[in-house]
Amino acid sequence: MLRSRNLAECRFYRERMGADARPMPWGLAELEAFAATDSSDPFAGRVHDGVTPKVSLQLEATTDPSIWIALDPPELDRWAGVIERMWKRWGTAPGEAVAFFDYGCSPLVLLASSGYVGYLRRGAAERLGLTAVCNDGVAAMAGRMVGIVEALEPSMLIVRRDLAVPFCLALESAGTNLADRIRWLAIAEVEGCANRREADQLSARLGVKVWRILRSDAAFLIAGECAGCRAFHLDGEYFAEALASGHVAITTRFAQLCPAVRFDIGLARLINGGCPLEPRAQRVEC
């Protein structure tokens, strides 16, 4: 975890330091407000001046101003580890394929393979012995996604939430039944998560297990829904704390170059441990 002295070297945090030497919790709105004060800094004050990160990712959730996050290679690997463990909890087997219907720039895709982003040593798919295939994440490509399902027989699918309906329609139009083919399907929002009812409806429509992903790229947060308790299990790379406002704040342990300390994910319930499937994991319900 970053020391407060190091954290204060980042302009964004320096202005947010509280009396307890910890930064005040922040969200995308605060980040955007800071970015608007200095358009020359793509990282909105979260990366030390003069540092050239090996990998910079543009946040999809913010547009004007454009904001970037940054990682060094070891951090990239640790982030990929989060995805590896999330998939592992849902179940995978070496030799299977995972297919994506999302933008290629989504961390869910990028972190799957060293073939998708530079400086990643081993992506999540590579660690689990999986083949990865990505379809371009636009609705017009739903038919091609059905083709991938039929030809490459992936066992796992990661689908962008806004593409779930076009994908269902394309499957139905082709008469392709996922129930016998797919181990699980996960849906992801650009920021936050899909609601549980929507996931359940999708699951009923497709006849497969549908898991939700909680995502916030500004904090490098990726968490998967638990098959047992249905809460989001936080990987050991994250530390969560309940705030007096009823919100939950997340700190990402691996993020040193572009620290993510006390990122406010909004209204949520934090549960410390207690799920039989992963007794020590911090869990979030939202």
Binding site: S56, Q58, T63, Y116, T131, A132, N135, A151
Partner: protein
Amino acid sequence: MLTAARTEPFDDLDRLSPASLDQWWVRKLKRVAELGFDELAFYRKRFAAAGFHPTQFRTLDDLRAIPISKKEDLLAVMQNSRSKFLGVKSYTAGFDVRMTVSLSSGTSGTTYVVHTRRWRKLQGYSSSRAHWWAGLRPGTPLIMSAPAWHAYASIQPSIAMHFKNPCVVVSGTFLPRFADRIVDAILAFRPRFITMFLPMVFSILAAARRDGTSGEQLFAGVETLVVTGAPITPGMRSHLQDVTRVKRVAEIAGSSENLLAVDCIHAQGLHVVPDTCYAEVLDRKSGRPVPDGQRGSVVHSSVIPAGSLYLRYDGGDAGVIDRSPCPCGLPSPRIKLLGRWEDCFSVGDNTLLPYDVQFALETEVPELRGTALVITREGLANGMLRLLLAEPEGSAASLLDKAKAKLSRRFEVPVEISAVRDLPLRFKGVPPILSEQEAASAA
């Protein structure tokens, strides 16, 4: 005394003489043919049917004994086999489940291209050569210009790591509606080298203009702009130089099936990247090599012994080849892809590609270079060339009259040109053939 500018060699392969490169290619292609024979039923059957065995492979002429494959052949394999993948992938380095698969889509269907780690290593090195030729050097940030589904995505990380370039990943996907995000990336990271799909270049210029940023301001500090995804005419190249003020606009031609060629500083054709592929240009009817400069089918063979293997693959492109020595010193022949045969059309006594129309227009009326245009189906059905031209800024009707007269004389067919208020930016660079209704709804 003036001397012609030479390309700085990437490694010793670039220092070979053309004859030595041919010998090098023989060894590499023989290895791939052996692999195809040993491991892949697809090639074993095709070799047997043609009476070819890899042991017979001694010169590049022997390559001609290998039957040509087309996308239809690959789709048929997919259709008939119960295999998850096409029958053209090799596991030379052992079965590697840690593959990525990219998609090769087109009007005829989607095929899947396998990228093993070994393929990525070899192709990454070869593509680094290609980008070196195009002007990429260590240090500059590299904006990732291909989404993960595209084969280019599988080599960009290797290129970045070879040159130790920081990677800049733009959000969204590469559609015009995300152009403003690419503009933000260019302004924030100020790369010296940019690779971009041609239609996206115009989209990002338009997005920048909306924010009051000129092309010159957007591309300030950019030394090389590499365009890919469409053949550019000389006029389009100089138009891009005019609007961006980038000194070097280079072209890369590539395909998911391992065709790769890049132009050098002389920009007189694209050098085949030798450790990716060997290329032939063949007469469409006889299948024999065409003389230099004559149009034919571009057929290539991958020399990378890993991943999906493509031996004498006809990707449906029309092109020309030039085997004469290039003043830049690179030993590989130059090719120029001119378009897809499926876009070829006849009018009068001419068989043309949209490239020809654009080239003719900019040659006859240089003021119109870089203008977006559409070739209408209705015109072709009536034996004439009818063009819809995006109204050039500040142009007079006389310019269109001049173009009409000159094109009519050049092609010896009636020509009609109508100025239209607007055409989508994606039509710039590659004139599509559309009905007038399609063109109107697209605008």
